[in-house]
């Protein structure tokens, strides 16, 4: 491939300990993953001069910098929820290309399962907009928001609960091939449809897991990448956007910020959906990838239900997706973004073992944050 101004690579990846993690804190988990990812890149902590982290304590990257002994010359703690990490790749790509840092570290960890920190309600508050106009109505966060999106999509396009269930089934089929997946038992469309209703039309098994986990990745320019222990993976394009904070302010419940992040990423990469061999869409809920495939142009508006059906996304399918088992079956530590990127890099390198996809030249990662508030897209490719 020709050299571009954004000639930037992911040169190392790692997961943190996963599942139910004891004997660790989030910071120690991040430290372990950072060391492992940097080792793949042929680098050490002392080489990191760009730090891209959030959700690990106050002031974004500052506490992580202290913990790892890193004094960055480029620091970014953009808060896009689960979409932050693919956005970090976007930002790191530009920072490296502009020479503002040479070795960018992106990392995340959470012990949300062990620490039981998740709650469904929002707190009424007469000063904040959410507190006045959203919290008092009892819409569970985030599932109720995704439920409203799913219900609207079903109304407008005739999407059925069976279509949503197909997404969960595809993720589980991949998880059965991943020794690190949290749930590996067989799953059928019927199992999803007969699981407990949480917020119509979404059942228990339309929802992602709550686990501990996280990961790290290292992003560098071509010269630094040449010293990597593993084959560097090129960042071809990236994009990001957001549409709303309150669900009442989302302009169209069937069009997410992914329509912009995807358009931007494909334009930068100079390719289209047909050139993508596999995808890692954020599967926070079954509706999330279904809508993402429409936003990204893999299918037309309203065609997401049919698109995710018939085994297309599963092992042996036409567009392998959620190949780790995703947030639905592999791991979901509150923000899956880093791990979506880790999985895509491993697939492109051809080191995904039993779940290795047959064609793995170009992979797309699509992350979503908040209540489908934000989206970020990264396109990765073999060099």
């Amino acid at each position: 491939m020709r050299s571009r101004p954004w000639d930037v690579y992911v040169t190392g990846v790692a997961e943190t300990p996963l599942g139910e993690v004891t004997g660790q804190t989030e910071l120690s988990m991040v430290a372990l993953a950072a060391r492992e990812a940097l080792a793949e890149a042929g680098l050490g902590l002392k080489d990191v001069d760009g730090l891209f982290v959030n959700y690990l304590g106050e002031q974004g990257s500052v506490q992580v910098g202290e913990y790892l002994g890193i004094q960055p010359r480029y620091a970014d703690s953009t808060d896009l929820g689960g979409a932050a990490f693919a956005a970090f790749v976007h930002h790191a790509m530009l920072a490296v290309a502009a020479g503002r840092c040479e070795v960018a570290l992106v990392a995340y960890a959470s012990r949300q399962r062990s620490r039981r920190v998740r709650r469904l309600g929002e707190t009424p508050d007469p000063y904040t907009l959410i507190g006045q106009f959203q919290a008092p109505h009892g819409l569970p966060r985030p599932i109720g928001h995704y439920a409203l999106i799913a219900a609207r999509h079903m109304h407008v396009y005739g999407t059925r609960p069976e279509h949503l269930a197909e997404v969960a089934v595809a993720a589980r089929r991949w998880a059965r091939l991943n020794p690190k997946a949290w749930v590996r038992t067989p799953l059928s469309v019927d199992d999803v449809l007969t699981s407990r209703m949480i917020s119509t039309p979404l059942h228990r098994l339309d929802c992602c897991l709550v686990t501990d986990g996280g990961g790290a990745l290292v992003i560098t320019g071509r010269a630094v990448a040449s010293g990597a222990a593993k084959r560097p993976v090129r960042v071809l394009g990236a994009g990001e956007s957001h549409t709303h904070w309150q669900i009442s302010q989302m302009p169209d419940l069937t069009v997410s910020a992914g329509a912009v992040s995807g358009r931007e990423a494909f334009a930068m990469a100079g390719i289209g959906p047909d050139d993508v061999d596999f995808t890692e869409p954020y599967d926070s809920f079954t509706i999330t990838p279904l809508l993402a495939f429409e936003d990204l142009g893999f299918c037309g508006r309203g065609e997401g239900g049919e698109f995710v059906s018939g085994g297309r996304l599963g092992p042996g399918g036409e567009l392998p997706s959620m190949t780790s088992g995703g947030g639905l079956s592999y791991n979901h530590p509150g923000a899956l973004g880093v791990q979506l990127l880790v999985e895509a890099v491993r697939q492109i390198r051809g080191e995904a073992g039993e779940r290795q996809v047959p064609r793995h030249r170009v992979g797309l990662v699509h992350a979503v944050g908040g209540c489908y508030s934000a989206a970020s897209t990264v396109i990765l490719a073999q060099d």
């Binding site: 309600g121 106009f133 009892g138 819409l139 409203l148 219900a151 669900i247 302010q249």
Partner: protein
Amino acid sequence: MDHDPLTTWFWQGAAEGVLLVQRCEECGHHQFYPRPFCLRCESDRVVPIEASGAGTLYSFTVVHVSTGLDVPPPYAVGLVTLDEGPRLLARLVGLDHTIGDRVTVRWRDGNPHPVFGPAARPASR
């Protein structure tokens, strides 16, 4: 606890059972929640006006889990597009709804938050 000074008129109206939204006297745009100026034309001439209270159900979900609020599940929460344009999140009366239904605002004693229920007559669509 701090109160939002930009929404005082909304909550005063709500206490009297009146649903208020912001209207721009310059361009006619309606907006909700309140901003210090019109988001469409950026004019300062935005004033509270009484909404018709009628709208169309844009989406809804029946919640089957407890979120720690006053009403035990199941209950319905929906997005209502007011005839004036703005969209609101609100609790719905009852569980049996269809997206596209015509709905109107209701008020509950001692509760400042508007809820929506089926419009009195079937709407001609």
